[in-house]
């Protein structure tokens, strides 16, 4: 009986290994050479780096992130994104108390590459560039600050639903990114220049992606 259990364990282990390795082989690049279009919507949270105007002057609420990725299976892809976030203006020595709220709007482009760790699990490093705008008030009393943002990040995706016809997958995505912001066009006195113009940010987002292929 003891030997039988040993045999069964060994057989189970071997069969699992074989199945898993086959699965990995087929999963390395599923859809290789096929065009994939992957829109996603994500809930985003952003934290600005310490010692910066953007961190001290605003209390940002969670926002949303719309992305449109496109790639040919097995090759790096390109994506466009837009991001919207509302923020409360915190008492500060720069905005004169003229505004209570602000909107963060960012649009940009990025390149990424998706690696399959498992048939259902992918990781996608990415780098990109965006135009980040802080919009205070409404026209004609609107005041806008413009920043460039360069960022890098890592996205994890888990396939929740696989279409039986192989037309689309529905993925759960978790993404983290780190960026540097530079508002080089902002005119301000020299002693406050770096504080107002420069910042870093850390973004995390959770969402749903549909991968059409």
């Amino acid at each position: 009986m003891r030997h039988l259990l040993h045999y069964i364990s060994i057989l189970f282990f071997i069969s699992f290994q074989t199945t898993y390795s086959q699965e990995l082989d087929s999963a390395k690049n599923p859809g290789k050479g096929r065009l994939m279009v992957e829109p996603s919507v994500e809930l985003i949270y952003r934290n600005f780096g310490k010692e910066s105007f953007l961190r001290d002057a605003y209390q940002a609420n969670p926002g949303y992130h719309l992305r449109m990725n496109a790639r040919v299976g097995g090759y790096p892809g390109i994506g466009l994104y837009t991001l919207r976030q509302n923020a409360s203006v915190v008492a500060n020595g720069f905005l004169g108390g003229f505004f209570e709220d602000a909107k963060f709007i960012e649009n940009g482009v990025f390149i990424y590459h998706t690696f399959y760790l498992h048939r259902r699990f992918m990781v996608s490093p990415e780098i990109g560039f965006g135009l980040f705008r802080v919009i205070h008030g409404e026209s004609p009393s609107r005041f806008i600050l413009n920043y460039n943002r360069v960022f890098g990040g890592l996205g994890l995706a888990y396939v929740l639903i696989k279409d039986k016809h192989g037309v689309y997958d529905v993925n759960l995505t978790l993404r983290g990114g780190y960026g540097g912001l530079n508002g080089r066009e902002i005119v301000i006195n020299q002693s406050d220049r770096t504080y107002v113009r420069r910042s870093t940010d850390l973004q995390t987002s959770l969402g749903i992606q549909i991968s059409f292929h």
Binding site: G93, F94, L95, G96, G97, F98, H136, G137, S139, P140, S141, R142, F143, I144, L145, N146, G183, E185, I186, V187, I188, N189, Q190, D192, V196
Partner: protein, 139 residues
């Protein structure tokens, strides 16, 4: 002809739209200065109010109706206010709290007031308006 008129119309609307904007995007004005006494020494701990609205009902002692910033001068008597730049030809008031008053030259004569005007048109390319040394007396 119609095309030209259309272009002129569009440009006019754009010009009006831009001209009507209250704030200048990506731009901050900075007002700096130093409070000194009659002997030219810096005065620390003076309370200053930066405002756009003064109530001149009491002409000798106008009061601020709203406050943009309220600051205390530092150990070297210096102060600084930063705020978004505005398009219109506006100006601000710098009000000083008792027991001090500004000593100003009014037509060659000394005058003592609890406020002075600060004009953004006097700014340098970085938006800095230097109000210089402001002499105050205890009144």
């Amino acid at each position: 002809m119609i095309s030209k008129l259309f272009h002129v119309g569009v440009l006019s609307v754009l010009f009006l739209f831009t001209a009507c904007q209250e704030f200048i995007h990506d731009s901050f004005d900075t007002y700096t200065g130093r409070i000194i006494n009659e002997s030219g020494q810096p005065v620390a701990g003076v309370e200053l109010v930066f405002t756009q609205d003064l109530d001149f009902t009491d002409f000798q002692n106008p009061r601020s109706k709203s406050v943009i910033y309220r600051v205390i001068t530092d150990s070297s008597g210096k102060f600084k206010f930063v705020l978004p730049s505005k398009n219109f030809d506006n100006f601000y008031y710098l009000q000083i709290k008792p027991p001090y008053k500004f000593e100003v030259d009014f037509g060659g004569e000394k005058d003592f007031r609890n406020f002075i005007e600060a004009f953004p048109s006097d700014q340098d390319p970085f938006g800095v308006v230097s109000l210089g040394d402001l002499k105050v007396v205890e009144k």
